[in-house]
């Protein structure tokens, strides 16, 4: 059976890319065709209208699509999570210099950021931060980062969307002062000498839910085989021994090259924070391991709470409607747990 699976080129697309490219799908009798999507909006619409059979998707966007909050309402479900964490907040070198935090720890960094953001808003030239889509953990992590410094993001900072591959250029041109994106784009901005990683996603919100495998709820007879294939591929991706091979696969197949060493380092949670080469080791920076695959309805509830807090949706039973879309039962049935 041939399935078309959509993805956006990011490190956490690894399990679906590996499932398609390394034989995990074939072992389950599936022929997976990868479809690289140019934007999350297009991925969402193509999944909703049946052009895609499944997708690597922002967790909040999968929920928003199924709840009719974003794009054409789609009958989707989430039978598996692909990862936790993987994002970071990077700021321009100039903003980092202006922030000059007392210590390189979240509380101090966020407080220093809040001070600059307040000053800039008062001068009528607010800071501009980039995210990847309104319905993303990135947007929520920016809000939480501001909150950690006692700042209400909406009142003081302009938030725009920048497609991840454009983040480096947007920083260089001064169109944004910083951004929250997924791996490997923070490391790439640092390597380009343009940014300073201010906070890792896993510090802002430990074990933050991130990408999921989204499937149409109807006629998904292929679901068990697909879940097994992606689950087994995910286990392969999480094995530290496979990191160099995975980095090469992502560079070649997901367009995340050309720096394979940077990719392998990022997959292992070794983050170079600035041009001076300051290193922070965070084993949980991007979690792909077995413990994250079973979809946790509490994650859906957390996303729903963030949507409400961001003014994206009214709080009329949203959490429970969101939680019902996460289907650990499908995961258990497929993987024989």
């Amino acid at each position: 059976m041939t399935l078309t699976i959509g993805y956006v080129p990011l490190a956490d697309a690894a399990p679906v890319v590996a499932a398609a490219e390394l034989g995990f799908a074939r072992d389950e009798g599936l022929d997976l065709e990868l479809s690289r999507e140019p934007s999350w909006a297009t991925l969402r619409d193509r999944l909703a209208l049946g052009h895609l059979d499944a997708a690597h998707m922002l967790g909040p966007l999968a929920l928003a699509s199924a709840l009719g909050l974003s794009g054409p309402q789609a009958d989707l479900c989430v039978p598996m999570a692909l990862n936790l964490n993987g994002n970071a907040v990077t700021v321009s070198n100039a903003l980092w210099a202006e922030m000059a935090p007392k210590r390189d720890a979240l509380a101090e960094v966020a407080t220093a950021f809040a001070a600059v953001a307040r000053a800039r808003a008062a001068e009528g030239r607010p800071l501009t931060l980039g995210t990847v889509h309104p319905y993303s953990s990135h947007s929520y992590q920016l809000r939480l980062f501001a909150q950690a410094g006692g700042l209400d993001l909406d009142d003081h900072v302009r938030v725009v969307v920048v497609p991840p591959p454009d983040t480096v250029d947007a920083l260089r041109r001064g169109l944004i002062d910083g951004f929250c994106v997924g791996a490997p784009w923070n490391a790439i901005a640092v390597a380009a000498g343009l940014g300073r990683i201010a906070a890792l996603g896993c510090e802002i919100a430990p074990d933050c839910p991130e990408k999921v495998l989204a499937l149409p709820e109807r006629d998904a007879a292929f679901a068990p085989a697909l879940i097994r294939a992606v689950h087994r591929a995910g286990l392969w991706c999480a094995d530290p021994e496979n990191r160099p091979a995975l980095a090469a696969l992502l560079a070649d197949r997901a367009g995340l090259g050309p720096d394979k060493a940077l990719l392998a380092r990022t997959l292992g949670g070794t983050m170079i924070l600035d041009a001076a080469g300051t290193v922070r080791t965070a084993p949980d920076y991007l979690r792909l391991d077995a413990a994250v695959h079973r979809p946790n309805p509490d994650h859906a509830r957390w996303f729903a709470a963030q949507m409400v807090a961001s003014g994206q949706a009214p709080d009329s039973g949203l959490a429970e409607r969101a939680a019902a879309l996460y289907r650990p039962d499908l995961f258990d049935a497929a993987t024989g747990i």
Partner: protein
């Protein structure tokens, strides 16, 4: 401005907003398409149908500012454009957007949506714009984009046909030189071989050319 900031508050995102008064002819349409040729074709089509203000906005980091300055009533954007997510942020969910933009076409119209997506189109529309106006613009976009795709396919076919013909000419030339055949005989030999092997003449020709290249 759409993005003057910080801007307080509007609105629940579901609250319909009253638009500034807008007559039928005063629409501003923005076209965003990674293919400049396709964008030009759509621009021309919209002008021909009486839309007086059409602007093509290139993808890239400057897009947001261009859209904010133009304040279009309708944005027609190709599905292949990475800028769609930029528009989603601008479209009313954020408190910074003074002019909320509805998603897509009338959401109840599945057929229209399917046709638009099949043609590679999505549209962002200022809240309150009349459905028939949106529909006529989308109709034009669908027609133009489908025509463009057809032209491209035909061009591609013509190109590959030309390439096939060149390959067959080269193979004939090789056979004529190596086997002292006439042009007609060389072609008949190719055709007979193709029939025997149940393959296309061009495949036999390619094999001959490849072999000749390898063997010198």
């Amino acid at each position: 401005m759409w993005l003057a900031c910080p801007v307080r508050p509007p609105t629940d995102h579901r609250t319909p907003q009253n638009r500034a008064s807008m007559t039928e002819t005063s629409l501003t349409v923005a076209v965003i398409d990674p293919s400049p040729a396709r964008a030009a074709i759509l621009e021309e089509g919209l002008r021909a149908s009486g839309v007086d203000s059409v602007a093509v906005i290139p993808d890239g980091p400057g897009l947001q500012a261009r859209v904010a300055a133009l304040k279009p009533d309708v944005i027609v954007i190709h599905l292949e454009s990475p800028s769609r997510d930029v528009l989603e942020q601008m479209s009313g969910l954020s408190r910074q957007a003074e002019r909320p933009v509805a998603m897509f076409v009338d959401r109840s119209d599945q057929t229209m949506m399917q046709a638009a997506v099949d043609a590679g189109i999505s549209a962002y529309v200022v809240d309150g714009l009349r459905t028939d106006r949106i529909r006529s613009i989308l109709d034009i976009a669908i027609l133009r984009f489908n025509a463009f795709a057809r032209l491209q396919r035909e061009l591609e076919e013509a190109r590959s046909e030309l390439a096939d013909r060149k390959l067959i000419e080269r193979a004939k030339g090789i056979l004529m030189a190596r086997k002292s055949l006439s042009e007609d005989e060389a072609y008949k030999l190719l055709r007979r071989q193709a029939m025997n092997e149940k393959r296309k003449i061009v495949d036999i020709a390619r094999a001959i050319v490849t072999a000749a290249d390898l063997l010198g």
